[in-house]
């Protein structure tokens, strides 16, 4: 579609608007929505094919087309002449707080399954551009995950649904609400018996409040809850163990020994940001001296199937099939003297391991923590509770509280019940809030067929997703950054959400919609939230209940991003006496047969590390973010161990342009269970459990958008299709057959081994104590071996030292604490306007991330002993190899030791990239940056240049932030304080694994880290003198298991 056609269509529309004035203008829009021209245009907004060069840039070309779709958000956008009516108010007296060029930060929270995380949103002149964590928020502590970082892109995603539609045709909110009103009024007399609401678990107190109001007005109506990441087993175990629904809280900072039974608490589990921080607070090793942190370095045992961040950081990791973990759990429990009715489990070949673990747990009574993962059957959860109680951890490291979610507990029954009702035509009006069951419901529920029988179906959501397409009405929801709302963190602490920007597409929030359903009249979101918290405040406050006092409370709550004292109190609970009864094998929710020596293949499900349950599928940043353990992008795959791959005859296929730094055409395997089957490209993961195949949810979307997949161009395959409500997380005895089809998988690092180079240096705590300088030892050794490597002879030229006065910026990265979560990668992408290049370009080895997380396995690829994550930003070498080869002075060294890129001087010889020993430089082989798409333009960080074609770019140590701090410091005539400059990656890191600061100031954090004996520079022997250095990884293995 050429811009010209678009222009004419817009002209046509404007004509229709001529002669209207004042508020009619908006009404006329609603009328206009029906006109042919508008319909034509709206359809044209989403061309199925576009005229693009035949070189894999088509997706980006689509993105450029989207500029127009934004212009339609309230047609004002497309009128080139001044608005035809009304008064335009000049910006004479700006709001007091806004200073041009100075960003403002507002506190809000992003609700995610399991609990909201408090955020501070950076807003430039009224448009949110970057998200940071809220240090005061219990779930964040200042850190963020990739989802929070990427949510800013979702806000501006041009694919977001921008209008209300009725059967695909654009309508106005007024019409939609009118329809709902009549629909509800019809139902009112019989108490709304035929009305159903389906939502995700409710984290918002205000939404809960509106729900109550609705159910009051329609007593017979039913409210159902569904979330794709089913936790029935956990909930059931809670009921059986304690007779009530509870949430479990862990104090990792108090735990000396942690046993994770398939619980990825450093990765995908809710609350992981906080848990990473707590867990790593016990691993901040700096000196060999036996100081407090030293003495109490914790130890992590992990039993898991695929390689998760948790398993990678574990001191001892056992990779077994999901279904075999129950057996091991029972074995450990019985060793500890916890009665395990039914089978006492069998450790099989892992007898020694189990014994050692049990011993270690026993030894640390009360300072132990045992967790069971979501995927595990009830029995394992019960055992975890039992062991914790048995070892007296409850009240020490484990706590229980009422669940954060309100309303019905999110069990699969809830969805099945709804489906049955619909099938039996008991439902006449269904309202889906934000959920997408058509895509994610288990196969056996056949939700879609049931849905078709409901006469009036309404969907509220951010996207025209699969469910929306099958509902009569789709109402465009407002993004959480656009609306008023509130949400509870995993520990119950509530956060007030405030809108950072006017709704781009005039969407409504769920709270507002439910309020309308309850009262049949529109109430602004702010009012709803305020009233909810006014009541809360009225109960809480002792003092006079004046409006001013409440306003004060309201303001502080908004400002702090947390409502003081809303965290849930700890509940003292004890196991029911008859809990063992439920340990009988048949009680375990899964039909898993875990006979030892059983060699059948198992299919295990897991949420995707980047697109999660699929709700983030249309987010380019997340699609392109390499998944921690596989480095795959833009796809999910059937993950399997090298052994399993050999059995199936799967091996690396023909390589794509980039080779190991690009992608391979991988053989496609067919996974078959009963009548269900999917075709999935195979990917070999060293360290994956044998005879188990992991597939990730979140792909194979049919209408996610142009990034996440559409009917005609799907991305990945849909793992939900293989899932049943009876076996929600793993299916034993799956039939796997290799087909002769192949599929291109784009990865950023296929080479797992270090090839005997000291890239990641690590040692056990013991070795560190004996040999404090083990990290720097290799250099010393090399200098002895090969004198030419010694620093002195390397100096061909006399050194050119920068003036001492200026700060010497440097970064230190702690490999002990890095969990490889990739938050830094996405944070950097958001901060530095890094483009998304698309699968084909990644496959060609051209992804643009300024910081990457290298991952290596210790030992062999067949039997990996260790897993390492190594974030690699620009090293800012003092003897930078890139600088002296640049013919045009486009990359030079600043007095502060920064390796500066001068984009507008770069002619793109790529010599610097070739000569960079760390290969951290990124080149704009094509015109990657998106200058056209209006909405995406809004997201760009105004402090960072958007790079054009043919230009080299790389990590700048967030120089814009340094300058910002510099200016503030100069204004106040003081030196920059330590910790004043925080790079984007450092700010996002939940593990606090990155320190940045002035190395010339020995008091600075970075300087302190650097003085640790663990400090070493990557490829030091090349004499590049990197400013970015690493702290060698220290592990705390159990001596009994060492070498075993």
């Amino acid at each position: 579609m050429s811009r010209k056609d678009l222009a004419t269509d817009l002209a046509e529309l404007e004509q229709a608007l001529q002669g209207t004035s004042g508020r009619q203008y908006w009404r006329s829009l609603d009328e206009l929505a029906g006109t042919a021209a508008f319909q034509k245009l709206m359809r044209r907004e989403f061309p199925q094919q576009a005229d693009v060069w035949p070189d894999s840039l088509s997706r980006r070309h689509f993105l450029t087309l989207m500029g127009a779709s934004l212009a339609l958000a309230g047609l004002s956008g497309c009128s080139v002449k001044p608005a035809p009516m009304g008064k335009i108010v000049p910006y004479v007296q700006p709001p007091r707080e806004i200073v041009a060029g100075e960003p403002l930060f507002f506190a809000t929270a992003q609700p995610l399954p399991g609990g909201a995380v408090g955020l501070l949103v950076e807003s430039h002149m009224g448009r949110p551009t970057k998200i940071e964590g809220n240090p005061d928020h219990p779930a964040s502590g200042g850190a963020t995950s990739i989802y929070h970082q990427a949510s800013i892109l979702t806000l501006y995603d041009p694919d977001r649904s921008q209008t209300v539609t009725y059967q695909g045709r654009t309508r106005a909110w007024t019409e939609a609400l009118a329809t709902l009103r009549t629909g509800l009024e019809k139902e009112r007399d019989n108490g709304g018996a035929a009305v159903r609401i389906l939502s995700e678990p409710i984290l918002s107190p205000s939404l809960a409040r509106q729900r109550e109001r609705l159910l009051k007005s329609l007593p017979k109506a039913k409210w159902h809850v569904y979330e794709p990441l089913l936790q029935d087993a956990r909930l059931e175990a809670m009921r059986l163990a304690f007779g009530q629904n509870l949430d479990c809280h862990y104090a990792f900072n108090k735990a000396d020994v942690v046993l994770s039974l398939d619980a990825d608490f450093l990765g995908s589990e809710p609350g992981n940001l906080r848990w990473i921080a707590d867990f790593m607070s016990r691993r901040r090793i700096r000196t060999p001296a036996s100081d407090s942190t030293q003495a109490s370095m914790n130890r992590l045992y992990c039993i898991e199937t695929e390689v998760t961040c948790t398993g990678a950081k574990a001191d001892h990791r056992l990779a077994v099939r999901v279904q075999d973990i129950e057996g091991l759990a029972r074995a450990i429990a019985s060793k500890l003297g916890v009665s395990t009715a039914g089978s006492s489990g069998s450790a099989g070949p892992h007898e020694k391991w189990v014994a050692a673990v049990a011993k270690d747990l026993e030894a640390h009574r009360g300072r132990v923590l045992v967790l069971a993962g979501n995927r595990q059957p009830v029995a394992v959860h019960l055992l975890a509770h039992a062991i914790n109680q048995h070892l007296g951890n409850v009240g020490q490291t484990v706590f229980y509280s009422r669940p954060v979610t309100e309303g019905p507990s999110p069990r699969i029954e809830s969805l099945r019940e709804l489906a049955d009702d619909m099938r039996q035509d008991r439902v006449r009006l269904l309202i889906v809030l934000d959920a997408n069951p058509v895509y994610s419901a288990p196969a056996d529920i056949k939700f879609m067929d049931a849905l078709e029988r409901v006469p009036l179906r309404v969907h509220l959501g951010l996207y025209q997703d699969e469910t929306a397409r099958r509902c009569h009405w789709h109402l465009n929801e407002a993004h959480f950054l656009e609306t008023w709302g509130d949400a509870r963190a995993f520990d119950g602490t509530a956060t007030l959400m405030q809108p950072l920007i006017e709704p781009l597409y005039r969407g409504r929030s769920a709270i507002e919609l439910v309020a309308f359903l309850a009262t049949l009249q529109e109430t602004p979101g702010e009012e709803l939230v305020r009233s909810r918290w006014r009541d809360h405040w009225n109960q809480q406050t002792r003092g006079p209940k004046t409006d001013d006092a409440f306003d004060a409370f309201w303001k502080t709550s908004l400002h702090d991003g947390v409502v003081a004292g809303t965290g849930f109190p700890i509940r003292n609970v004890a196991l029911e006496n008859d809990w063992q009864r439920h340990l009988e094998p048949q009680a375990s929710a899964s039909g898993a047969s875990s006979r030892p020596g059983d060699e059948s293949f198992e299919l295990a499900f897991a949420p995707d590390p980047t697109v999660f349950d699929g709700s983030f599928a249309n987010n380019g940043w997340l699609q392109e973010c390499p998944k921690p353990s596989t480095t795959l992008t833009w796809d999910n795959a059937a993950l399997m161990s090298p052994d399993t791959a050999r059995q199936l005859g799967v091996e690396l296929g023909e390589y794509a342009h980039g080779g190991e730094h690009g992608g391979f055409k991988m053989p496609v395997v067919e996974l078959k269970v009963e009548d269900r089957s999917v075709l999935a490209p195979a990917w070999i993961v060293p360290g994956h459990a044998d005879h188990s195949i992991t597939v990730h949810f979140g792909y194979g979307r049919e209408s996610a958008g142009r990034v996440g997949g559409q009917r005609d161009q799907k991305v990945g395959f849909n793992a939900y299709a293989m899932r049943t409500s009876s076996q929600p997380w793993f299916v034993p005895n799956v039939r796997v057959t290799k087909t002769d089809r192949t599929h291109l998988l784009a990865c950023t690092q296929q080479h797992n081994l270090m090839e005997n180079r000291d890239l990641v240096r690590s040692a056990s705590l013991e070795k560190f104590r004996q040999k404090p300088d083990f990290a720097s030892e290799p250099e010393k050794q090399k200098e002895i071996d090969e004198t030419r490597r010694a620093p002195a002879p390397l100096e061909f030229y006399p050194p050119l030292e920068p003036p001492a006065s200026t700060p010497k910026w440097g970064m230190v990265i702690d490999l002990t604490t890095c969990v490889g979560c990739k938050a830094c990668v996405v944070a950097c992408q958001a901060e530095n306007n890094i483009p998304v290049v698309g699968k084909q370009q990644v496959a060609a080895g051209r992804e643009m991330h300024w910081i990457r997380v290298d991952r290596y396995v210790g030992g062999t690829a067949e039997a990996p002993a260790e897993f390492h994550f190594q974030p690699v930003p620009c090293m800012h070498c003092e003897r930078a190899p890139c600088e002296y080869v640049c013919p045009v002075e486009a990359t030079v060294h600043s007095a502060e030791g920064l390796n500066d890129m001068v984009y507008n001087r770069c002619v793109g010889t790529r010599f610097c990239s070739n000569n960079c020993s760390y290969k951290v430089r990124r080149f704009n082989f094509f015109h990657y940056a998106d200058f056209e798409t209006g909405s995406l333009r809004l997201q760009y960080n105004p402090d960072v240049t958007v790079r054009s074609r043919g230009v080299m770019e790389k990590c700048s140590y967030c120089v814009q932030r340094i300058r910002h701090a510099q200016i503030d410091a100069d204004r106040e005539e003081r030196p920059i304080a330590d910790g004043e400059v925080v790079t984007a990656c450092q700010a996002a890191c939940p593990a606090g694994a990155i320190a940045f600061g002035d190395l010339s100031n020995s008091a600075s954090e970075a300087a302190k880290w650097r003085s640790s004996p663990l400090n070493y520079a990557l490829l030091e022997e090349l004499g590049t003198r990197p400013r970015t250095t690493y702290l060698a990884a220290v592990r705390n293995p159990n001596p009994e298991l060492e070498g075993g």
């Binding site: 390589y655 290596y856 690699v872 001087r905 002619v907 080149f923």
Partner: protein
């Protein structure tokens, strides 16, 4: 008598005659030499074959320009390059063409100093080849830039940015070396042609050719006093061009040698590159001379004896080059450098395509020339032609290996990657051949392809009085 017959007799005679005389065209007088060579230009005897080849070349040339347009429109991304491998076909072709460009000046300069009479038959051709090869080479460094329209930022000129080129970068050295080499070679070539232009001017019948060649001759009138200074200047130019030839490819090699990359960071590169350059250069001269001497019936000027002596040089330079390989491998092996060792292992038994290319290269560059030990083959045009074409191909692959293997397997395994050419890579290279073919054919048609004045100087009787004494 028929040319064929004359060749026969000529060759018989030459094989008998010994010493310098074997390179002197037999049975020629001042007049006949002049006649024969000048008529190739002034005579209107352009045959079909010439047009056919020209057409083919033009097609390639047009394709080349089409590729360039697309490249400028889209960006270097249309090539297969990526982040570990930032350079490949473009730079490979650049180095290859520059190498070919070396034989010309070497033959004309060094052989002048060495008083090698046989050069006279081929120096003009070789020099022309140099000019055009360097032209082809020059296009690639421009095209491979991310923003080619700013290429002039590599030149030192006063500008509003108040910036100069970064003279520590080998790429800037390239700019100076290559442009110097081009202008000096051009001057050398032109200067050599001035007396011949005078001849053409004086023989031309049509006014327009008189004017054109008259201009080019600059009023040269063969004055003995002029000849005196001319000889001196020519000698000096030769003396200057000789170190220039050596320096140019040494500078080109430092694009790699000054880097840190394993496999690039080598002190052996400069001589090794020069040797390779001479090898490919001579191969190209032979590959051009063989068809030409038949097509233009100048077998008596470019005799088999000429081919033979060039074959010998080919053999020698192939040894220099191969020595480069082996010393590289050996030194790496003995140094025990982790990274270098891995790269060279990778070259020999390497990942996917590389090893294969390596062995093909060795066959082309080292094994094939070994045939030339045998006199029969040295004097056999067909063998000679095949060998030199193989050598040319081999040298291209050698540059390709040298550039890719190091980049794709350097220090951090995490960022190891592979280069795989796209169709655009190949078209860009093939297109440059078109540029060469077209320019060279035009040279054959409009300029004297053998130096008449020098040829006369070789004829018996040219210095009769001295023999007289």
């Amino acid at each position: 008598m028929s040319p064929a017959a004359s060749i026969k007799t000529a060759e018989v005679r030459q094989s008998e005659t010994s010493g310098e005389l074997r390179y002197v065209p037999v049975g020629h007088t001042f007049a006949s030499v002049t006649e024969k060579i000048a008529e190739l230009v002034l005579g209107r005897a352009t045959r079909q074959a010439w047009f056919v080849v020209l057409a083919a070349g033009t097609v390639l040339l047009l394709m080349f320009s089409a590729v360039i347009v697309y490249l400028l429109a889209k960006g270097t991304g249309i090539w297969g390059i990526n982040v570990p491998v930032g350079w490949c076909f473009a730079i490979t072709s650049f180095v290859w063409w520059i190498g070919i460009g070396h034989a010309g000046t070497l033959i004309s300069a060094i052989l002048v100093l060495l008083h090698q009479k046989w050069r006279t038959s081929i120096n003009r051709i070789a020099e022309a080849m140099t000019i055009f090869a360097v032209m082809c080479a020059g296009t690639f460094p421009l095209l491979h830039l991310g923003r080619p329209w700013f290429f002039f930022w590599l030149l030192p000129y006063p500008n509003t940015m108040k910036l100069w080129p970064q003279f520590r970068s080998a790429l800037v050295w390239d700019v100076f070396a290559v442009s110097t080499y081009f202008s000096v070679s051009l001057m050398f070539w032109y200067m050599g042609m001035i007396p011949d232009f005078a001849t053409l001017r004086d023989r031309a019948v049509q006014r327009r050719w008189q004017v054109v060649y008259g201009m080019l001759a600059m009023g040269w009138r063969n004055s003995a006093r002029h000849w005196h200074r001319y000889q001196m200047a020519y000698l000096l130019l030769a003396g200057l061009a000789t170190p220039l030839v050596i320096s140019v490819h040494s500078v080109v090699s430092s694009d790699f040698a000054i880097s840190l990359e394993p496999g690039w960071h080598e002190t052996v590169f400069p001589p090794y590159f020069v040797a390779g350059a001479l090898l490919s250069g001579f191969a190209m001269v032979i590959a051009l001379a063989i068809p030409m001497r038949h097509y233009y019936g100048i077998e008596d000027f470019i005799s088999v004896s000429h081919l033979e002596v060039m074959a010998k040089i080919l053999l020698a330079t192939s040894f220099f080059t191969s020595y480069g390989y082996f010393s590289e491998q050996f030194i790496t092996w003995i140094s025990g450098e982790t990274y270098d060792k891995y790269v060279y292992l990778n070259i020999l038994i390497g990942f996917r395509q590389y090893a294969a290319v390596t062995w093909i290269t060795l066959c082309c560059v080292f094994i094939a020339p070994q045939l030339l030990w045998i006199k029969r083959f040295r004097r056999n045009e067909k063998v000679l032609f095949v060998v030199s074409v193989l050598v040319l191909a081999g040298m291209w692959m050698e540059r390709y290996l040298l550039i890719t293997t190091s980049l794709s397997r350097d220090f951090l395994p995490s960022s190891w990657g592979i280069f795989q050419p796209t169709v655009w890579d190949i078209l860009t290279y093939v297109g440059s051949l078109g540029l060469f073919i077209v320019t060279f054919l035009l040279f054959c048609r409009f300029l004297p392809m053998i130096s008449m004045c020098e040829m006369r100087g070789l004829l018996p009787g040219a210095r009769g009085h001295e023999e007289g004494r």
